[in-house]
Point group: C2
Chain length 601, copies 2
């Protein structure tokens, strides 16, 4: 049905298509617009986030700085005969799945050992992965063993400008555009911390072998939030509002141990240390609420914590919201505490201070080091760089905790390295002291919820689909009124001009209140037209009949119950508006207006 | 102010930036979302268009077929010393501008001759352009003459997949994604013609030397409509609704002649033949209405017709909506009748019939040719291809008008070429005859309005900006309520808890009705906070004061008049909602509620 109703279609189908590229057809396009709108309201507007739109084209220097040019890779192996490329970790995962499936009587312990290896597949080094592939007897389609695995960069490369000398990439995530704008964003927020920036836009990954249909694609819509926070205070002002919310959590200990999830409140998850901090947990709860709001089945949602080996070296804690669909449990939203890594690297590369200021209510004593340089020794060794070296040391000396390791190294080893320069004992002496400060400057930590909108859209299609009375012919999408691509259908019972005029009038009034409306004046039976509306998830249908012309009343049908009520046509817009905005439930409407019984075929 | 309020910012600024790439900051991002929303309502929803979202990454075969790989170029010249690249037509345009400026006393006729050359700058062949550059004495920055001009392809090239063998491009327009989906779209529209598909998304052009700040950029948001229509009947069912609308038209005769525009009604423009057909004119009128709806200054809008030399070889007629800003008159929306070129080329390349069917009310006699092949002669010459050749001839023979040129050529020359095959007289004989048909199959023509949303956004910023009482400190954006990024500000007069609670309550109620709201609880003076809201174009501001706590009334201020009215806080949401949805004017509100006079500083 997804193809037939033109929800999702392989791109460039008539030209043979391209793996990993899909188009959204009219109903999916409208559903996506409604989802994006709901996301913007739930996150950006409710919390006054600063939304930006940055470019997809990104110059190499930015992604070199962020580490993507060197490290945004998957391990790839080739069939030595055909040259065909495969993603090495997926081959290992598949091999383990097959092994377990082929041996149903395998002892539990042995199976768990295999699964532990499987769960770490994407964290192995090339050598480790090669070893595992050999151990599990993975063979290329040609029958030969695969060649050695090697990292393949997943970014699409291009050249910006006519000279052909300036390398650019399509961004693999929207986040970098926000990081490089940090100083302007902080200004726009009147220097107040914490605050969040957000971006909805395209990301691109040149997947090695896109499979899993709509889930692993090469071009996708992301919605990302970068919440900037003081690294020493990751509390969240609205934490209390979500502390009682229950989440299904799959911590790393449980993944490597029991294999079972835990259902705990957000408050307990933080106080027990399972989730690293309030802000991270706050966004996990907000994500859960968003998913429920757009109509995802809560029974098929869980948060999985990254294993230590899976996380980027700088990250403190990561939790993926996984959604269960016919593809299994799939990561749809990442929640990562990226610490101050990103601001730090861009700040250093551009010599731009990426810092926020915390004003103190009363002055505070801080321990620091007072330095005295031997300028002659510095100059002799570093020449033109001597100011850079002394500047770097001065910056560290601002805070004794930062300087202490330097001091210790110089005392015990006689030398140490700062920003790539080797410092020796003769260059600097110091005195531990204190000073009064009225404000503290710090590089903010970043907590990042990152939504894969395409994956969420696809999962929502699966969670919304059902067949009425198990009749294959009568497919229904149970989209919630708030996200349904079209809110209301308006149908004439006959093709008479008078009836049609009322249909147009009601449709215009609905559209005028921003309620997307579907008019179906085709000659198909009413039952057939209801079915068509059901298939694209229209929650309500108004039918104009001959009685409407005399008493001004119309029938309003609700999609899932198929119950119909009779109400004045003048009430239609307000009632549908209130349904869509969660101000009126169908049950309340049924109590207020008389129900009518009409057979649907 | 555009930078200071973070409307638009050069991308990757801290890393030195990239020419032709810009980010949208929070207020522009919200304005763009509101513009896109208005566009979707004005075009897609009102006319039940089929909206899609196709990918930016496009395989080479698609753009080879569409002609972009071979012809999507600008002429480029290089400085022979530095190797720096320039766009040749822009150099000529600039040279003519300079010449005219430097010679204010130039006779009118001479000046007009120069301007006629200028207007054709982007239509010259490389040799013609080289000649003109020499004639106008254009020199490279190094002082040397430029090298010969040559075509530079403006598409960004990349490689899709890990093997590195599959070339892809970033799409230069969204249209191709819709064309290749034509058959599915026609199905989704139950085979009914005419119909329109639409797409909002990114386009990319590797501009040679991006200038004109925000107008000539390398990555931009487009909104395109492809209206598919019977080439023999380009009438539009809703044409009557716009026939009386006046447009400012700058026809090609006037461009090469009087240099003056004409103001004519849409109906007259079509009946006089100035605009080629009803559908093209209908969309021009709808574009004009859209521009007025989002608040563009109608005095600074005009439609300019393409010169014959400027149009693609297949196009019937093209009109650009140009918007005047500080950059002069800039093309912001193209309206092109692309005939059946696109469907034709994709149909031929993929051997997919891209046709629609017109069912006739009564059977019709059509003239055709009945063919008789000499299979032996065909087989000898074409071998395995003989069926392809006879099939192509049979298809042409369906309609005498199509076959007549073939017949004439064979009779007079003894041979002709069909689809690249040389046919000789001995291979086929024919008889002109008639047959009864109940339906006609045809390749639809495409009429395409194509909106450059970034350019429109920038123009709207210029048209909306003014300074209150000519005071440079008091900048205002006069965004219409329907597209204003934020609809209402809510301000407490003091920081007391009780007042703040009412502010939060009103803001929540506004947001709940989808009215984006700005809460400003800062300690700045009320006048200062009004000014801040004015700068980002918030049309209304509600102020909660101490009286609110006793009588429940609040002040509502309108941005442009700065008039304030007093109304019950319970009325606020409905009143603002009605302003935004054009159901209530400010004048009506002022009659209904008492005005209050408060000094603003």
């Amino acid at each position: 049905m997804i193809l037939r109703k033109m929800f999702i279609i392989p791109s460039f189908e008539i030209h043979g298509g391209v793996k990993g590229l899909f188009d959204l057809g009219p109903p999916a396009c409208a559903l996506k617009a409604a989802m994006v709108d709901a996301w913007r309201k739930h996150f950006v507007l409710t919390e006054s986030m600063l939304e930006m739109e940055c470019t997809c084209l990104t110059p190499e220097v930015v992604l070199k700085t962020s580490g993507h040019v060197d490290r945004f890779t998957d391990l790839m192996v080739k069939d030595p005969v055909s040259g065909e490329c495969f993603r090495a970790d997926k081959l290992l995962e598949d091999a383990i799945d097959e092994l377990i499936e082929a041996n149903p009587d395998m002892p539990v312990e042995e199976r768990e050992e295999h699964m532990r290896i499987q769960i770490q597949a994407d964290a192995f080094s090339p050598a480790e992965l090669d070893e595992q592939l050999t151990k599990y007897g993975c063979k290329a389609p040609s029958g030969e063993p695969y060649g050695a695995s090697f990292p393949f960069n997943l970014m699409f490369k291009t050249s910006i400008g006519p000279e052909g000398t300036s390398v650019g990439y399509l961004r693999p995530e929207t986040a970098q555009g926000l990081f490089v704008n940090f100083r302007r964003l902080l200004d726009a927020n009147s220097q107040k911390m914490p605050f969040a920036a957000a971006q909805i836009g395209l990301g691109f990954r040149n997947e090695i072998a896109p499979r899993s249909g709509l889930l692993r694609v090469r071009e996708f819509c992301m919605a990302e939030i970068e919440h900037f926070v003081n690294p020493n205070d990751k509390s969240h002002p609205n934490f209390a509002s979500v502390a009682g919310k229950e989440l299904v959590l799959f911590g790393r200990d449980d993944q490597l141990g029991s294999g079972k999830t835990k259902t705990v409140t957000v408050g307990d998850a933080v106080s027990s240390g399972l989730v690293n901090n309030e802000t991270l947990a706050y966004f996990m709860a907000r994500t859960q609420l968003f998913m429920e709001r757009i109509g995802m089945d809560p029974e098929r949602l869980r948060f999985r914590q990254h294993l230590t080996t899976e996380m980027a070296h700088y990250a403190c804690d990561c939790w993926d919201l996984e959604i269960q669909s016919s593809y299994g449990w799939v990561e749809c939203v990442g929640h990562a505490d990226r610490a101050c890594y990103d601001l730090d690297v861009h700040g250093k590369a551009t010599k731009t201070p990426m810092v926020a200021t915390l004003k103190l209510d009363e002055a505070m004593e801080v321990e620091m080091a007072k330095l005295k340089f031997d300028r002659k020794a510095l100059g002799k060794t570093f020449k033109a760089d001597q100011r850079v070296v002394s500047g770097a040391l001065e910056a560290l000396a601002e805070n004794w905790a930062d300087f202490e390791p330097i001091a210790t190294a110089l005392e015990t080893e006689g030398k140490t390295t700062v920003d790539g320069f080797e410092i020796t004992k003769d260059m600097v002496t110091w005195k531990k002291t204190t000073k009064k400060v009225h404000e503290i400057k710090f590089t903010p930590s970043v907590i990042e919820p990152s939504f894969g909108m395409g994956r969420i859209l696809y999962s929502l299609l699966e969670h919304s689909f059902y067949q009425r009375d198990a009749d294959e012919q009568r497919c229904v999408m149970r989209f919630k009124p708030a996200v349904a691509p079209q809110k209301c259908a308006v149908l004439p019972i006959s093709s008479g001009d008078e009836v049609n005029a009322v249909v147009d009038e009601i449709a215009a009034e609905l559209m005028d209140s921003d309620l997307a409306t579907r008019v179906d004046k085709s000659t198909a039976s009413l039952g057939r037209r209801y079915s068509r509306a059901d298939e694209v998830g229209v929650p309500f249908a108004v039918t104009v009949d001959f009685d409407t012309l005399t008493d001004g009343s119309v029938t309003l049908r609700e999609r899932d119950s198929t119950i119909q009520i009779r109400l004045p046509k003048a009430d239609v817009t307000r009632v549908v508006f209130d349904f869509v905005h969660n101000r009126l439930t169908w049950e309340e409407a049924v109590k207020k207006y008389p129900t009518v019984s009409v057979k649907e075929d």
